[in-house]
Symmetry: C2
Subunit: 587 residues, 2 copies
């Protein structure tokens, strides 16, 4: 109970800011009408007619004439680290697109830098215009030896973190442990329920009886649907559907028929990013881009706005705080020049005007990074081409191998096979057929294990690409047509302390350093976007048809989405939950 | 995490009950389609195709062919005591109409029997098919000497009660203390927020700046709107609107244009009773009656069902538990023969079939009542006609008096005035003009104070009526054309230890004993309804045009709804918040 809000509402005290003349997009009633808004202490004190006494000599008046006013946009599921920017730079970029809140579990940072890393980000976000609603990662471990990570998150830590005021719930509760009656999952779910917080799901391609079983435990949402049928099945069974439109997982178009053809009530639907890089943000935007896509796809504009405001707020159980322009809520308000094109003009965050005419008008200072976030890439020797190769008996002429089938717009991979030539005991890539080598090098100074296999789908005719971002272990992953370029790329990442690298003819051709945890740049977002664009154009010229090859590569490493994942321990068969030999047979 | 639910969903363990062949009314997607449902441990384990392994030799199969299946109905704001039935009898009556959950603050019981009374009801409801979602009363006091009550609820008790698992939030947070920066209100709101629970509102005729100020504190809902404009104003500003259709406060028809003409999104609207007596339930029903009214008024049937299922569940933040037919939720399921007429055939509560063919098929045993609930009417002497009279200087010939203007369908009262004849210093009622005496007699053995005034609107040409139910103090209130009949009625209530009484010619003509706290009968609901009907018919024959005169009388005593309330301390001017003399002047 903020006494000043009451006084401002009653006209007994002047507001900090009064917005006049705008058209309110009411996401509760689905109406649009003229209203004024008074703000004090960063919160909305009054809507409608503003009392004369609420306007004093120091009250800032903002003219919203001709603008549509919506609540600040909320991304209910995004990993900010995938932008490859710090939270400060991410905010600078996202706020221009109307984003005032994100649910981000900081899992990538935590995998590398642990609990200390999480606290460092909590410090960084304190005064940012994009609020962090923190879902606590529901899993973060070496997964029974399937991968090596920098730091694990133990159940006791989850139980403590979820009681934090900024914690909104559990993030990405996996289904296999649930279906297997895991005591750890049980404890985490109990901690969430006890704190009145949500348990967000992660259920790719989960249907029928397994889906039912998963939902019985109180999971509230899922963001992994890749077809309208899958999404509708989940929605009908009580899961809130987070429609994902990311760089490497772009599901929005596929899911829209749920709304436009099946015409279901969208109250339990929201639009989210999961993973977008700074180039996507720079060129397309953030949630505004998804609103445009939905409207172009036939969704009513107010309904589309609901899916990035009130719906995500209700899904995260934070609608008492945000997602609505109403008294008592955070004064997070977006002015649009036009509703259907979601053209952001002004953004007010916690009562401060931070964007005007589409440009950020406040200084968002670069902060010092905590030591725990730096110097996290620890290879103990220079990697050689030989170490990255798949080896078999030298007498073999050919080998039948397992090949990861990468997908340009989905995180799902195919389990392919191929017959490859063997030379001197080394199984050869086949660039003609787009079957390349892939390797994953442990980078935490924990033994230096290397996983090896083959991959199809990147289409790179020469050279190699490597990244130190690879979910959910963030070891160094490299794909290439030859061992020399692969080794050069990996060693360059060691020198950069993390980054994206393209090599060709034994030399580094392009690089984007990511020195913070090996995940995030210390540079400006627009500058990074320009480099990433160059890199993508280079790969495209070499035959890669992926929209975001580095983002796709960062998910090839994930051992929770079928069919294959690769780690420093080797090739993982996701459905079996175990390592499999990349080589099936030789002859 | 219930392991058995997971096993049943997966088909690894037999369900307790499987429902086959029904048409699911999906309140999330607003679709209707065929589905089967499996139930275990009182909860829904699976929807859709039920695995063969989930059907064992002991699994009860329920045939729902041709029926519409909806979630059990939830009344988000009702005082069960107004039914004048015990929770057991209330359940017996309400369950036939599809009700499986109510939010009832037990405030009437608590005012009479205190904390001990609340605990007695918690004990009673444990195995009932109608679940109690308990909002903790946000106020319960002698209100600065404006009334005498049996027991007060202190802030420390509120803070403790709200942490109970059955507590869903605060009930009826009043606005005057909020606007006055009350520290007690602040503490209560903080306790609710800290526990992640709701703060339900009570804002009759609150508009504009005061409404804004009130909502800044995080109040979530209001049930006091009496016009579509008022309701729309609240809805737009972020309050969830509980559309009330009670005996004495029937607002549904007035509020419907908000949905049928303004066509706003109804996701934040629910339909509630506030106060209905057992006769209303017997003749009209409960939430099913409101669904019928809404559909007749032009609301889409599924939308009407949403307003008694998912919407109230989300409003109370209990949608993880109920309000939806989905895995993990309580197996509270209603079968309707027809959607538009909301004709209840079968009710399953916590997985047990409790109603079949519209009839209760389980025994709901009468329970022993805790001693604290009995013998609560404590007049220390027989009341005389003289004690109930309004007296002035014996030399006066006429008196100008304040008259409470009672309203048949609203709790709002008018502040009328009248000139009345004075005989021997006693101001005379004027039956011709329907200006009757009203008095309120303290009944807790705490001094026996008596408040007196006049009232218009009851239209009783002869005799008197009295009741020991009168919000929010529950002293004995009596209205009559003459002092003898009034005194006889009050004294009969003492003998009955509570009840409703009609007297005529100095004798008791009808009576309905309410020995539990002076509020609730120990008899069967249908039996009580027959008596109440007789009583209402008698009053009607005498000229009373009210639908529920006893219910209306029970709110004339309330000092929180403008303009007037009467207590044992006297006539209260609600807007001024103080006692006023019923006599303005004499001559």
């Amino acid at each position: 109970m903020n006494h000043r809000l009451i006084d401002v509402a009653l006209g007994n005290s002047p507001a900090d800011l009064v917005i006049k003349g705008g058209k309110l997009v009411n996401v509760i009633t689905k109406e649009i009408y003229d209203t004024d808004i008074a703000v004090a202490d960063g919160k909305i004190a009054a809507v409608g007619y503003i009392q004369e006494g609420a306007i004093g000599p120091d009250t800032k008046i903002v003219d919203a004439k001709g603008k549509y006013m919506t609540p600040g946009f909320i991304d209910a599921h995004i990993h900010f680290e995938s932008s490859m920017l710090t939270m400060t730079e991410f905010s600078k970029m996202a706020i221009k697109h109307g984003t005032t809140g994100i649910a981000s579990d900081l899992m990538e940072i935590a995998i590398v830098a642990g609990r200390e890393g999480i606290e460092a980000i909590f410090d960084e976000v304190k005064d940012l215009p994009v609020k962090l609603h923190y879902p606590v990662p529901a899993f973060m471990s070496e997964e029974g030896g399937l991968q090596t990570i920098g730091a694990a998150l133990y159940i006791e830590m989850v139980e403590e973190l979820i009681s934090y005021p900024q914690a909104v719930g559990l993030a990405e509760v996996l289904y296999p442990p649930i279906l297997g009656h895991s005591p750890a999952s049980e404890r985490m779910l109990e901690a969430a329920a006890k704190n009145g917080k949500t348990a967000e799901g992660h259920a790719p391609a989960l249907f029928a009886e397994k889906l039912n079983a998963y939902i019985t435990t109180g999971i509230r949402s899922d963001h992994e649907s890749t077809s309208a049928e899958e999404a509708l099945d989940k929605l009908r069974r009580g899961l809130r559907v987070l429609i994902r439109e990311g760089c490497a997982a772009a599901d929005l178009e596929a899911l829209l028929p749920m709304l436009t053809e099946h015409k279901v009530d969208s109250r339990h639907c929201a639009m989210v990013s999961d993973d977008i890089d700074m180039l996507h943000m720079h060129e397309k935007g953030h949630l505004d881009h998804k609103v445009r896509m939905a409207v172009n796809g036939g969704v009513d504009p107010i309904e589309a706005i609901q899916m990035v405001t009130i719906n995500p707020a209700e899904s995260l159980k934070i609608d008492d705080r945000c997602g609505i322009i109403a008294p008592g809520r955070e004064a997070d308000i977006v002015f649009l020049n036009d509703l259907a094109t979601c053209d952001v003009d002004t953004v007010i965050s916690s009562g401060k005007v931070v964007v005007e005419g589409g440009q950020v008008v406040v200084a968002l200072e670069k902060k010092d990074y905590a030591p725990c976030l730096l110097n996290t890439v620890k290879l103990d020797h220079e990697i050689t081409a030989d170490e990255l190769a798949v080896k078999v008996d030298p007498s073999a002429a050919t080998a039948k191998v397992r090949v990861i089938g990468a997908n340009a717009t989905s995180l799902l991979t195919d389990d392919l096979e191929a017959d490859l030539e063997v030379k001197d005991g080394i199984v050869q890539a086949d660039v003609e057929r787009d079957i390349l080598n892939i390797a994953c090098v442990e980078r935490y100074g924990k033994g230096g294990s290397i996983g090896r296999s083959f991959i199809k789908g990147f289409g790179i005719s020469k050279g190699a690409i490597a990244t130190s971002m690879g979910h959910d272990h963030h070891n160094i992953t490299v794909v290439g047509s030859n061992g020399e370029d692969m080794a050069t790329a990996v060693n360059r990442i060691q020198e950069l302390q993390g980054g994206l690298v393209i090599t060709e003819n034994g030399k580094v051709k392009y690089e984007l350093p990511l020195p913070i945890c090996g995940l995030v740049s210390d540079k400006d977002g627009v500058e990074c976007a320009a480099i990433l664009k160059q890199m993508q154009e280079d790969l495209s010229a070499k035959g890669c048809q992926m929209q975001s090859p580095f983002m796709t590569l960062a998910f090839i490493t994930l051992i929770f989405i079928p069919m294959y994942g690769i780690t420093d321990k080797g090739l993982v068969d996701v459905l079996q939950g175990k390592l499999v030999d990349p080589v099936i047979s030789c002859k």
